[in-house]
Amino acid sequence: MTATQSTEATREREGESDDPSEGTTTAGPILAVEQLRKGFGGIQAVDGATFEVAPGSITGLIGPNGAGKSTTFDLITGVYSPDSGRVRFDGTDITGWRPDRVARRGLVRSFQIARELAGMTVMENVMLAPPDQLGERFWPAVLPGFRGRVAEQERELRERAWETLEFLELDDLAGERAGALSGGQRKLLELARVLMTEPEMILLDEPMAGVNPTLERKLLDRLQELSDHGYTFLLVEHDMDVVMEHCDPVIVLHQGEVLAQGPPAAIKSNERVLEAYLGGEVEA
């Protein structure tokens, strides 16, 4: 089942790549970050970062440890409010919005260190994610008159949850407590939740860390497929092969600022990037 799905995904991707899918990229940026600044005590974690993300792209966000990648994510998604600067998403100024409001607007993130809901099962974790569930409102949850409709929606969600879990090879663990999962599985669970929210744009913070190579391959194919379908990704990743192969453009953060951005090939040969990020040691 999963194997066929995987080949299907690949085939679809190859099919798509024949078509010129330039239509979406001509529109304005879906995410625009301007002069974002955030300091913690004496440390200026983000210091005037400015970049844009085009709709439908898989944009890579790289940089050495402490460059401000995760803080930038936190500022975009409302975990912290920036000291100054603006964040615009899909034409709306979302600067300083609370995380839940940002997520409902269609911008959802994963966390660098997986934050699984340990006491809940894998399935419950995934079922939590979909937005606008009828049974999440108090009266429909309680009153008998809504029971049928709530249960019906739950069955639909359960079906979608199974598909997502199967795709991420977590279906065997559906009834398991999330706290019992391995590190890699937790990252996958996080990804499953994010996918279940059906957002417009997804911020992924090192989604491949701890995931086995076969599944990583599959995940990347899936990301590509989703982006072909109009999803936008901003991806923090340390694996340079992944970034260079799948991300375009690539943004390099260094000391809270954007050091360079452009297509992977240009980044690869950018002197300043090599100096700052790779410490000068580069193979080829």
């Binding site: 809940m120 399935m123 049974g135 999440e136 309680v142």
Partner: protein, 446 residues
């Protein structure tokens, strides 16, 4: 005929699957067995203790069982309400007693007669009960609003302060009687606040507001029937009335349980559990955590107010500010911790064990010891008391130390539990957070 059988079958299914639909039938059945067994055990224990104590006929035994049952039911309701806030959503409410006081006093002020010793608005009791529930809900929301955006600890501090403010206001001279828009109102201050007759009294007597002795002279049809049954068991009218009240209390207790399991098994409950585990995750998935927390807190407080109303209406029906001391809050917490927070069945079990064994047990035990041992010699200090078994009993079970003994037992039980089973008796038994059954797939592929 066929319709009747359909209804019967539906009723039976509802009993077996209180969650309806795809609920976990095995879990529900074993929970029922567990709670049933516990109730039988508690009754056996208290019957034995009543028989060993100053035995005074069957009526007396029944009446003692009624006392335990009432306490158990009240604590079950309170533990369930607290479980919604703390067990599900992780909201630390240290003001349980305060919200109970709000509910009970609002009910009293709305429905007490305008010409009574403590004047009220004289509205029907139903209005009072609903009003009390709504007032506790509203105050819950108001307390939560400023505190809930802060960290969890602040909510605890605010609620603790709030409950003390309520208690002190209620018993203050200024609040004991005042006039608003020409209407005399009051809380009775430090004195007791006589409540209007409860629904059972209204059902039983023509003139329910009269003192019981006089009211018995004019029973209704139901009252006649009850007095006859009471005669068979050698019960006094007030004992029979209390037993009836307590039995009827099973209905709201059942409703509490159903309501809370329903919340727990709904997507709403799923979000609450997510908030408890990691609020940032719930928020990052687009859940408006603030709305969920305030709703949950308010509903929980409303239920606490309702539980207090149902408790205080029993029997003579007198409110006293002393009932709503902060220790009441901690009693409810102990009940919930005992049973296992997060589990509704655990809350029920915790309510039973706490109220029966820890709260009422020592009192019943004292009656037994008083009856069977010579404890008239009442030594003053524990050193004098340790001269022999009987002085020791006498010391430990004197009126002053029985309260202390109760707290010592509480402490011992809690320490033991934290060591052996920190999640409580049933803390591992969490219902699934979904309306439909989760781990199985309907169309499993071959």
């Amino acid at each position: 005929m066929s319709r009747l059988s359909v209804w019967l079958r539906r009723g039976l299914r509802a009993l077996r699957h209180p969650l309806g639909g795809d609920g976990d039938a095995d879990g529900a059945r074993s929970d029922l067995v567990l709670v049933g067994g516990l109730v039988v055990g508690v009754y056996a224990l208290f019957t034995v203790m009543a028989l060993l104590g100053p035995f005074d006929g069957v009526g007396n035994v029944l009446s003692q069982l009624e006392t335990v049952t009432l306490l158990v039911l009240v604590y079950v309701m309170l533990a369930l309400a607290l479980n919604l806030q703390w067990g599900y959503a992780g909201l630390l409410n240290l003001g349980v007693a305060g919200f109970m006081a709000i509910g009970a006093y609002t009910m009293a002020m709305l429905s007490a007669a305008p010409d009574a010793t403590v004047p009220g608005l004289g509205l029907p009791l139903v209005v009072g009960i609903v009003g009390g529930f709504l007032a506790a809900t509203l105050f819950g929301a108001l307390t939560a609003l400023p505190a809930i955006r802060l960290r969890a600890d602040y909510l605890a501090i605010v609620t603790l302060a709030f409950s003390e403010i309520i208690r002190l206001v209620v018993r203050s001279e200024a609040a004991s009687e005042f006039t608003i828009a020409g209407q005399r109102l009051g809380t009775g201050g430090a004195n007791t606040f006589p409540l209007p007759p409860n629904p059972v009294k209204v059902l039983l007597y023509e003139n329910p507001s009269e003192p019981l002795v006089a009211a018995v002279d004019s029973p209704t049809v139901a009252g006649d029937l009850m007095l006859e049954i009471a005669d068979v068991f050698n019960l006094s009218a007030s004992q029979a009335e209390n037993i009836l009240y307590t039995l009827l209390l099973l209905i709201p207790v059942g409703a509490f349980y159903l309501l809370l399991t329903r919340i727990g098994n709904s997507p709403f409950g799923r979000v609450l559990r997510a908030i408890r585990e990691d609020e940032l995750v719930a928020g990052s998935l687009g859940k408006n955590t603030r709305r969920f927390k305030i709703t949950t807190f308010a509903v929980g407080c409303g239920l606490m107010g309702l539980a207090a109303i149902l408790w205080q209406l029993q029997g003579q029906g007198r409110l006293s500010p002393g009932t709503f001391e902060p220790e009441l809050t901690f009693f409810v917490f102990v009940a919930l911790i005992l049973g296992g927070s997060g589990s509704n069945t655990g809350s029920v079990v915790g309510g039973i064990v706490f109220a029966a064994v820890l709260l009422e047990g020592p009192r019943a035990l004292k009656r037994v010891v008083d009856e069977n041992f010579d404890v008239s010699a009442d030594p003053d200090t524990i050193i004098e008391a340790s001269q022999g078994v009987e002085p020791l009993f006498a010391y430990l079970l004197s009126d002053s130390s029985i309260e202390a003994l109760r707290f010592i037992m509480l402490g011992v039980v809690l320490v033991y539990l934290m060591q052996r089973q920190p999640q409580g008796l049933l803390g591992h038994r969490r219902g699934q957070a979904a309306t439909v059954s989760l781990p199985t797939r309907e169309e499993e592929e071959p």
